[in-house]
């Protein structure tokens, strides 16, 4: 028994050493391809090839125009009830209920008349709703991962104390806690990776539909948004 206990302690210690090195490495390996793809692609440059319509009339009376206010101005005018997306990409029902404010950047706001049969309007709406949902789930995964790291931190750093003050039972319980927190961490990283990919897909879908709403051709918008046929296939447009 005396020989068994140090042997078990060494075994638990061995598992923890592997976990301490392996968990962060596995975690980093799981998310690294995503980062490299994002960095390789870089920010999508999207410049609509349409000159602003010059008119003497006020913006409310024209069909489509780039207006001089920002997405936060538009969000303030619309209120929070009929608003989808966020300040970086979204749309809302303008006062009066006849048109939408649509934006794909804080200073790139467009007015479009409400048209429930326009597939690009519906596609843009769906894309920004899904993009916001992805963003929310990514925030949640970030917090879960941070909590898991806190748990891993406590259990790994507490391992010597658990073994010293609670002997073999303490070592085993602490070792089990390390494995559980490492599992939670892996799950959070997996969830984040999936939502990050979906977030990118919905972002380019929104850019594509925004471009189409400006009257550009399908191919020009595909090129401008950098969207692949697979990414476009899921947007319904």
């Amino acid at each position: 028994m005396r020989q068994l206990r140090p042997a078990l302690q060494r075994a638990v210690l061995g598992i923890l050493v592997v976990s301490l090195i392996g968990c962060p490495l596995t975690f980093a390996a799981a998310v690294a391809p995503l980062g490299s793809v994002a960095l390789a692609q870089g920010p999508i440059q999207f410049t609509p090839d349409v000159a602003p319509l010059v008119t003497e009339e006020p913006p409310d009376s024209i069909l489509e125009d780039e207006v001089q206010f920002t997405s936060s101005d538009a969000m303030q005018l619309c209120g929070s009830e009929l608003l989808w997306g966020d300040g970086t990409m979204g749309m809302c029902l303008a006062p009066g209920g006849n048109s939408y404010y649509v934006w794909t950047g804080p200073s790139e706001v467009m007015i479009v008349p409400v048209d429930a049969t326009n597939p690009n309007q519906l596609g843009f709406l769906q894309a920004v709703i899904d993009r916001s949902a992805n963003e929310g789930r990514m925030d949640e995964a970030e917090r879960t991962a941070a909590l898991s790291f806190a748990g891993l931190f406590i259990t790994v750093v507490g391992f010597p104390f658990a073994c010293a003050f609670a002997t073999l039972v303490g070592c085993i319980i602490d070792g089990a806690a390390v494995l559980v927190t490492a599992g939670l961490l892996a799950e959070a990283a997996n969830s984040y990776t999936t939502d990050r990919e979906d977030f990118e897909t919905h972002s380019v879908q929104a850019k594509y539909h925004f471009c189409r709403m400006q009257g550009n051709t399908d191919q020009a918008c595909r090129d401008a948004a950098g969207i692949t046929p697979e990414q476009l296939g899921g947007s319904g447009g």
Binding site: L20, P24, F27, A28, V31, L34, G35, A38, L39, P43, D86, G87, T88, E135, M138, D139, A141, E142, R143, A145, A146, L147, F149, A150, L152, F153, I154, V156, V157, F159, P160, F161, A164, F165, A188, A189, Y192, R196, F199, E200
Partner: protein, 139 residues
């Protein structure tokens, strides 16, 4: 000579435990900032309590009991374990929000707290490790 060596071990352990507990306080406080509602209050309260505990007699008491309990055996290994764990693990919490920021996800206050807090905790423990290395090499 043995007593002097033992007290040096206690000083090194106390510093490492202080760094680990303070780092944990900063990490949990940052998670609290990223949360909403009562979870934010709870996270901030636990974080502040942990941070305050780092400056009480608790780390010294724990360090002396630990050194006494292990009898100084493998104490440097345990010390390295605590120090390295305290440096590596907290900044791991900043990895996901930092990657999101690099890829263009809008940065909110919660994500910013999750980047800054854990990084500060890791750096703090790096300073503790350097201080301990200097102390352990002193004559």
């Amino acid at each position: 000579m043995v007593e002097q060596s033992m007290s040096r071990e206690v000083v090194l352990f106390r510093r490492a435990i202080q760094g680990a507990v303070a780092g944990l306080g900063i990490l949990i406080g940052s998670i609290g900032v990223a949360e909403v509602g009562w979870l934010r209050v709870l996270g901030l309260a636990i974080g502040l309590l942990a941070l305050a505990a780092a400056f009480t007699q608790l780390p010294e008491s724990l360090a002396s009991r630990f050194v006494e309990r292990t009898g100084g055996k493998r104490s440097r290994f345990y010390l390295a374990w605590i120090s390295v764990g305290s440096i590596i693990l907290p900044p791991g919490a900043a990895l996901l929000p930092a990657m999101g920021l690099a890829a263009g996800v809008p940065l909110d206050a919660g994500s910013a707290a999750l980047i800054v807090g854990p990084t500060v905790a890791g750096l703090l423990n790096l300073i503790v490790l350097v201080a301990n290395l200097v102390e352990s090499r002193a004559p």
